[in-house]
C-alpha cells in the first residue's frame, strides 16, 4: 500500500511510550491529502501521483489551479506535490490519511530548513576559525586560506566560503513513527524534522530500511 503524506509541522514535545520511557517527538498535522492527478508513463513519461494538502479558500488560488483541481472532487488545496510510485491502484480524488501509518514505521521526512541568511564559513561549513590568542586580530571567525599562490593562480571552483545558508530542501531518513492520531490527523515522529513550525513537510516510507 502507498504510504506518503503532506503535513504541517506543529512543533516538538515529549511523550511516554507504553513502557513509560520518554520519547522526543515532532508533531505533524498530516493530511487529509487528496490524490489530484495520476501520472503515467504513456502520457507523462514517468509514473507518480500528485497529492494535494491544506484546504484553503478558493480566492487564495489562481484560476488555473482551481481548474486543475476541478477535475477531481478535491477541495481547493494550497500545496501540490508529487510522489514517485511504480504502479498504483490509487486514482485521482482518493483521500489519504494518517491511517496508512502505524507506530514503529520507518519514514523519511522532507522539509525546508530554516533560513539563516548570509552566514560565515564557521557557521555554514563548520570551519574552526582562527586562534583566539597569540596576538591575533580580526582572525577569530575568518575563512583562512583559500588556496596557493601563483600556481594555480586562481581559486578553485567550489571552494567553501560564506554565503546564503538554510532555506533549502532537507531530507531526514529512517525516522520512527511514535504516535498516530487518526481523529485529529496527527502524526508524531521520533526526533527532529527540518523546517520551521507551520512549514510544509513531506512524509514518505523509508527508502533504506
Amino acid at each position: 500500500m502507498f504510504k506518503g503524506l503532506l503535513g504541517k509541522k506543529i512543533g516538538m514535545t515529549q511523550i511516554f511510550d507504553e513502557d513509560g520511557v520518554v520519547v522526543p517527538i515532532t508533531l505533524i498535522e498530516a493530511g487529509p491529502c487528496y490524490v489530484t492527478q495520476v501520472r503515467n508513463p504513456e502520457k507523462d513519461g514517468y509514473s507518480a501521483i500528485q497529492v494535494g494538502f491544506s484546504e484553503t479558500k478558493p480566492k487564495h488560488l489562481t484560476g488555473g489551479q482551481l481548474g486543475h483541481l476541478k477535475r477531481t472532487d478535491a477541495p481547493p488545496l494550497r500545496y501540490l506535490r508529487e510522489f514517485r510510485v511504480k504502479d498504483t491502484e490509487l486514482k485521482a480524488g482518493d483521500k489519504l490519511t494518517v491511517e496508512a501509518f502505524e507506530i514503529g514505521d520507518a519514514v523519511d521526512v522532507v522539509g525546508t530548513s530554516k533560513g539563516k541568511g548570509f552566514a560565515g564559513a564557521v557557521k555554514r561549513h563548520g570551519f574552526s576559525g582562527g586562534p583566539k590568542t597569540h596576538g591575533q586580530s580580526d582572525r577569530q571567525r575568518a575563512v583562512g586560506s583559500i588556496g596557493a599562490t601563483s600556481t594555480p593562480g586562481r581559486v578553485f571552483k567550489g571552494m567553501r566560503g560564506p554565503g546564503r545558508m538554510g532555506n533549502e530542501r532537507v531530507s531526514v531518513q529512517n525516522l520512527k513513527v511514535a504516535l498516530v492520531d487518526t481523529e485529529r490527523n496527527l502524526i508524531g515522529i521520533r526526533g527532529g524534522v527540518p523546517g520551521s513550525k507551520g512549514g510544509l513537510v513531506i512524509i514518505k516510507e523509508a527508502r533504506k530500511n
Binding site: I10, G11, T13, Q14, I15, F16, D19, G20, V22, I25, L27, E29, L179, D181, R184, L186, G188, K197, G198
Partner: protein
C-alpha cells in the same frame, strides 16, 4: 498549534502529593524487567523541584553504602511512578538544597517542620 502539542503530552500524574524541597520521600517506581514488573523504592530527600510543564521533574538524594551520595531525577508526569510517600517534612531556607552534596553525617541533617 500549542493546544495540539499540549493535547498529546502526558497529563501530570494525579496521585502525587505536593512536594517541597527538603521532604523525605519514598518514590515507588514501576520497573519492567523483560515481562515481569516490580516496584522499586527510592527513599531520600527532595533537593530540587523543576517546573516546565510536561518536563517538570524533581531530584531525590540519598546516601548509599560507604557514604556515597546517589541522586535520581524523576519526571512528575511519568506514568511509571506508582506513588510517592512523604515521610517527613523539613524546614529549609532554600529552593535548591545543593549544599547537602558537600555535607555528610550530622551536618547533613535538616530541621523537621511540624506544621505547614
Amino acid at each position: 498549534m500549542q493546544e495540539l502539542l499540549k493535547s498529546v503530552e502526558a497529563k501530570p500524574n494525579e496521585n502525587l502529593p505536593k512536594l517541597n524541597p527538603g521532604d523525605l520521600v519514598s518514590v515507588h517506581l514501576r520497573i519492567k524487567e523483560g515481562d515481569r514488573e516490580r516496584i522499586q523504592v527510592t527513599k531520600g530527600t527532595v533537593i530540587r523541584l523543576r517546573k516546565g510543564g510536561n518536563n517538570a521533574n524533581f531530584t531525590v538524594r540519598r546516601t548509599a553504602a560507604n557514604g556515597v551520595g546517589v541522586e535520581r531525577t524523576f519526571l512528575l508526569s511519568s506514568p511509571r511512578i506508582e506513588k510517592i510517600e512523604i515521610e517527613r517534612r523539613s524546614s529549609v531556607r532554600r529552593a535548591q538544597l545543593y549544599y547537602l552534596r558537600d555535607r555528610t553525617g550530622k551536618s547533613a541533617r535538616l530541621k523537621e517542620k511540624f506544621k505547614n
